[in-house]
Amino acid sequence: MPIKKVAVSMTINGEQHEGLVEPRKLLVDFIREEAGLTGTHIGCEHGVCGACTVIMEGETVRSCLTFAVQAEGKELWTVEGLAENGNLSPLQNAFWENHGLQCGFCTPGILMTAVELLRDNPSPTDREIREGISGNLCRCTGYKNIVKSIDAAAKKYQAGEKEPVVAKAWH
């Protein structure tokens, strides 16, 4: 017997998205296929690589370990929600300036993880940054510049720059 589809609706980057999905539809597949937001990547599909990390209700989650039906009525932020009015955010600029990405596959997950990390700890040590992104795999092994980029973003915030998504996701 075919499984009944379920109507879901959620806010992603401030916009309402709706769909009719099987309960088994992963949140990451909803974000990519239903909402058309392909910035969030699917890596391992079992919660190890961190590429699919998004912010849900103010906390990072693995969108491959969450079903779309569980995000019903929830507020999500993805990598597309970082830039504002076409301008890269301070965190994105820090990655740009410090060569914080090579192939870029892990970058959306790393950026969303870094948003939460820097919100919880505005001046992390090198070690704390490394621990903070330990759940995100970069197979270009570009960690050194990723750590440098996050550190640079922290310094931008300390100098008064604001990460637009922070005020939006944690209100």
């Binding site: 079992h46 370990l65 330990s134």
Partner: protein
């Protein structure tokens, strides 16, 4: 991969969840808590429940409370909440410490205390901490609530004493005495990986001799267990390097590890000994 098809149920109360579970228990129903272990198994299709009962919407299961000599933790309390809780840090500092070892921040944002203990991975941190502290588990089924001591609850690999129609609702950890020295040691290949072996120790000292000793080991047998042979060696004695050596040998003698892709049985026993000695030494330095 993607999970196989299932029907999704989303109860908003414990009674409703128990009633749904009781209705579908014989038809492959599974309770979904944080999903950080279950969903990977479903994505691999190693688990193919027909009915998924999501308890994340049951707010009554999300709490950390002090109740007399106990710290009562609701089943869907997030691991991240345990990490941030001042009550946990004050009353059960060991729990705060072990929480840092569970996966990564993003995993702990979703992973739950009840889910971790109900999953009962032999290398997981909360079953070990619960064993060390002497926790109790509350389970609710169609016939009401029962309380199960942790040593009876953890049966074997990924298996607990929960009946198919019961839901774990609360874990009760004894509040730690202020003068107890405690330590947690874990070895994993990479930060956030599952432990190869983990050891927790608690020492209560009285005028330079050991009044009470507790040691628990995970990753070196089908479930986390108390290394009682090692505990007996310590009681009434003064802590010396020789005594710690003897205790760690006894602890190693109680392991029943299997070899797997991560480590050989011999290596796990070796680690159990080394980590026991280190944990005892650290616990002793913190006891007063």
């Amino acid at each position: 991969m993607k999970p196989a098809q299932f029907e999704y149920l989303n109860p908003s109360s414990i009674d409703e969840a128990v009633s749904l579970l009781n209705q579908y228990a014989d038809d492959d129903a599974k309770v979904l808590a944080g999903g950080q272990s279950l969903v990977p198994l479903m994505n691999f299709r190693l688990a193919r429940p027909k009915w998924l009962i999501d308890i994340n919407g049951i707010e009554a299961l999300d709490y950390i409370r002090e109740e007399g000599d106990w710290l009562a933790v609701g089943a869907i309390t997030r691991e991240r909440a345990m990490e941030k809780s001042q009550l946990v840090a004050d009353k059960c500092p060991l729990l705060k410490e072990v929480t840092r070892w569970i996966g990564h921040t993003t995993i702990r944002n979703r992973g739950t205390v009840g889910g971790c203990i109900a999953h009962n991975d032999p290398t997981a941190e909360y079953p070990l901490a619960a064993t060390l502290l002497g926790a109790e588990v509350k389970a609710q089924g169609p016939n009401g609530v029962r309380s199960i001591p942790i040593q009876d609850f953890l049966v074997t690999y990924l298996t607990t004493a929960l009946e198919p129609n019961e839901i774990l609702t609360e874990v009760r950890f004894p509040v730690m005495a202020q003068n107890v020295g405690w330590a947690f040691q874990e070895f994993a290949r990479r930060h956030g990986d599952f432990a190869i072996v983990e050891v927790g120790a608690m020492l209560t000292m009285d005028n330079g001799t050991v009044k009470d000793a507790r040691i628990a080991i995970g990753g070196a047998g089908p479930v986390a267990f108390r290394a009682t042979d090692a505990e007996e060696v310590l009681k009434g004695q003064q802590i010396t390097d020789e005594l710690l050596e003897e205790a760690s040998e006894k602890a190693g003698g109680m392991t029943e590890p299997d070899s797997d892709v991560h480590a050989s049985a011999e290596y796990r026993t070796h680690l159990a000994k080394v980590l026991t000695r280190r944990a005892l030494k650290e616990a002793h330095s913190r006891a007063h």
